[in-house]
């Protein structure tokens, strides 16, 4: 007897279509319950989709479902741009820790972020850069 390692087959489990309709749904719901206990959200989603397919009298292909789910997550550049263009100020969510110096996080300051570059340009800080450039450019202040 040849041995196979396909899930189910080596344990002599029946193919889903060989199990009576009602029993199939019962088993699926049982498996959903177990997946929920494990907090395995992906498995729950998969089993729910399998129930929907079973109720509709269709065969369920897990791999195909996962592929489709992955495809839905992908957004084209135009989708992204459209979403970005639809943005408007959203108050609290629009505050970045990185936006300003008014955070106790050491990485928050622009001087820290650009320190290496400022040194390459021979300035010790952004304030110093601004001061020296103002002297050179002599713009009306």
């Amino acid at each position: 007897m040849s041995e196979t390692f396909e899930p189910g087959a080596w344990r002599n489990e029946k193919a889903p279509e060989e199990i009576p309709f009602g029993e199939r749904l019962r088993l699926l719901r049982l498996r959903i319950g177990k997946a929920e206990q494990r907090s395995d959200d992906q498995e729950v989603r998969l089993l729910e989709a399998e129930i929907r397919a079973t109720e509709a009298g269709k065969l369920f292909d897990r791999e195909e479902f996962l592929r489709e789910e992955e495809k839905k997550k992908q957004r084209s550049k135009s989708d992204v741009l459209r979403e970005m263009q639809g943005l408007n100020g959203s108050g609290e969510k629009d505050i970045w820790n990185y936006d300003g110096m008014y955070s106790e996080h050491s990485e928050a300051g622009y001087d820290e972020a650009f320190l290496t570059l400022l040194h390459k340009l021979n300035y010790e800080s952004i304030a110093r850069l601004v001061h020296e450039r103002a002297g050179e450019l002599k713009r009306p202040l």
Partner: protein, 191 residues
């Protein structure tokens, strides 16, 4: 510029400082500074800065041309370009900001380099805002997970082209790595 323009507290040496962001968050920053027990003298700095008449915030979405036109109007009214532009776009492109919804970090790539294209599109528009009299841009180059070969080929071609247009690029490291910061200086080119 690009952000709330909080990066400079002493405005004695500037004629104007302009921030550009979705929404003016000065009031939110005040509240956050108080809530986070930012030291009193820094709270006063913030207060002095946000009330300084030299400072202006342009509210708008930088993914729409309307906002860029408003920034350009600012230049046309006052100078031939900004002498300094500072921005740190790592937040919306990266994984480090803690309160982000206005972000493209969760874009899963299809077969194109969408994030990179968006970044370069914004970079191109920004470069045109620099004064040709040595205007300086300080910016992060966000980590976008670009394949090193693609990034290297891009920078080689891009830097050559921009050099011919009068832009000098200075990178934090010699490898032009994503995640580095870079400075760009714009100079006039002879006709």
């Amino acid at each position: 510029m690009f952000g709330g323009a909080y990066f400079l507290t002493n405005l004695e040496d500037v004629s104007t400082i302009t921030g550009a962001r979705l929404k003016n968050v000065d009031e939110d920053m005040r509240i956050e500074a108080e809530a986070n027990w930012i030291r009193a003298h820094r709270q006063q700095e913030l207060e002095d800065l946000v009330s300084n008449p030299k400072r202006e915030i342009i509210e708008g979405n930088l993914y729409t041309s309307k906002s860029w036109n408003r920034i350009k109007e600012k230049i046309q009214n006052e100078t031939d370009g900004f002498d300094l532009i500072a921005c740190r776009p790592q937040g919306p492109f990266g994984h480090f900001a803690s309160k982000q919804t206005e972000t493209i970090q969760d874009v899963i790539e299809t077969d194109s380099n969408s994030k990179e294209e968006l970044f370069v599109m914004l970079l191109e528009r920004t470069l045109k805002l620099l004064s040709p009299d040595g205007g300086i841009l300080l910016t992060q180059v966000p980590v976008m997970g670009t394949k090193p070969k693609i990034a290297a080929a891009f920078w080689k071609e891009y830097l050559e082209r921009k050099h011919a247009e009068g832009y000098e690029f200075i990178f934090e490291s010699d490898h032009h790595e994503m995640g580095d910061s870079m400075a760009v200086i714009r100079r006039r080119i002879s006709p």
